[in-house]
């Protein structure tokens, strides 16, 4: 028996494996051994996740900005609207899109863990999973947004959405002024990852937005 208790070697260099990673790996191996899933299935899931990025969300937003009928479908059935753009979010998790308007700015959090619309946007940023963000954005959202560089005017309502159950939320940001002549692709390039969470808003030039 090798040191990992199995006959097959591991390829990852030891120095990269934290105690947590080692623990996860050990559990994964046990589940593989017991036939709960195969290594191939795990790899397929990793590939599935890595293939998803916030750019899916940016394409969805840009389409909603140029196509009012698509926007209506997005707000009423996000999963179906995503599928129209080739983003497969099928599965047991549901999705909802929350629209920013002149009256309200929305921001998403999962205070209990780190629920995120992964099937559409891929993995969340690390800060989204941090205790600081999760605990503070519900209590003092305007201060947290200010630290992100986003000042919401006092006369605009801030709505925090705590995704505590089986829905995952995307923010549909407002189309920036001065983008009237832009095509869909150009518009999509303005949409930042954080603007889909609500800690940023898109600007008329990408340089003005934070990446």
């Amino acid at each position: 028996m090798s040191e990992n208790g199995h006959d097959h070697p591991h390829e990852e260099p030891q120095h990269e494996r934290s105690p947590w990673a080692a623990r996860i790996r050990a559990i994964e191996e046990l589940l593989e051994e017991r036939g709960v899933f195969t290594k191939e299935e795990v790899e397929a899931q990793v590939e599935y996740m890595e293939a998803r990025t916030y750019e899916n969300g940016a394409r969805i937003v840009a389409r909603a900005w140029v196509d009012p009928a698509f926007k209506e479908r997005l707000l009423s059935d996000t999963k179906a609207a995503a599928a129209e753009l080739g983003v497969d979010a099928s599965g047991t998790i549901e999705f909802a899109t929350i629209e920013n308007t002149d009256e309200v700015h929305n921001v998403i959090v999962c205070t209990l863990c780190s629920c995120y619309p992964r099937a559409i946007l891929g993995r969340p940023p690390d800060w989204y999973k941090s205790f600081a963000y999760r605990s503070r954005v519900v209590v003092e959202p305007r201060e947290v947004l200010r630290e992100f560089g986003l000042v919401v005017p006092e006369n605009k309502r801030v709505a925090v959405h705590d995704s505590s159950a089986d829905l995952r939320y995307l923010v549909l940001p407002q189309r920036p002024e001065g983008t009237e002549g832009m095509g869909e692709e150009e518009l999509a390039a303005l949409v930042t990852r954080d603007s889909l969470i609500g800690t940023d808003v898109p600007h008329s030039t990408r340089e003005a937005s934070r990446v």
Binding site: E94, S164, A165
Partner: protein, 108 residues
């Protein structure tokens, strides 16, 4: 509504209060909402009960899930933002009770 649901007890606009239960396990009702007054914003549909689903059960029967809205000033003593600021959270029906008088909901 995201999924179909039968027999939902509450309707949009209903005044509710989050039950202040001390329940162990995979509870999806954060402590900061417990005992707080809010209103039903939307019926989201019927979903498996996570408190059973997490322990190998099937989570059935499904529970009605609601998007519940709160005024931030009702959640946090001394909330420093705008009085119009709100928080929405998705809560299962068994965590909600009707609020008859609505007296504790602050006016804006």
């Amino acid at each position: 509504m995201i999924r179909p649901v039968a027999g939902a007890r509450f309707a949009p606009g209903d005044a509710v209060r989050v039950r202040d239960m001390d329940k162990e396990g995979h509870v999806r009702t954060p402590d900061y909402t417990k005992g707080k007054p809010g209103r039903i914003a939307e019926i989201l549909g019927g979903f498996p009960n996570p408190e059973r689903l997490a322990y190998g059960g099937d989570g059935l029967p499904e529970r009605p899930l609601y998007k519940v809205g709160f005024r931030q000033a009702d959640l946090w003593h001394g909330y420093g933002g705008s009085p119009a600021d709100v928080l929405f959270i998705d809560l299962y029906e068994h965590w909600l009770e009707p609020r008859e008088h609505g007296g504790e909901e602050k006016r804006t």
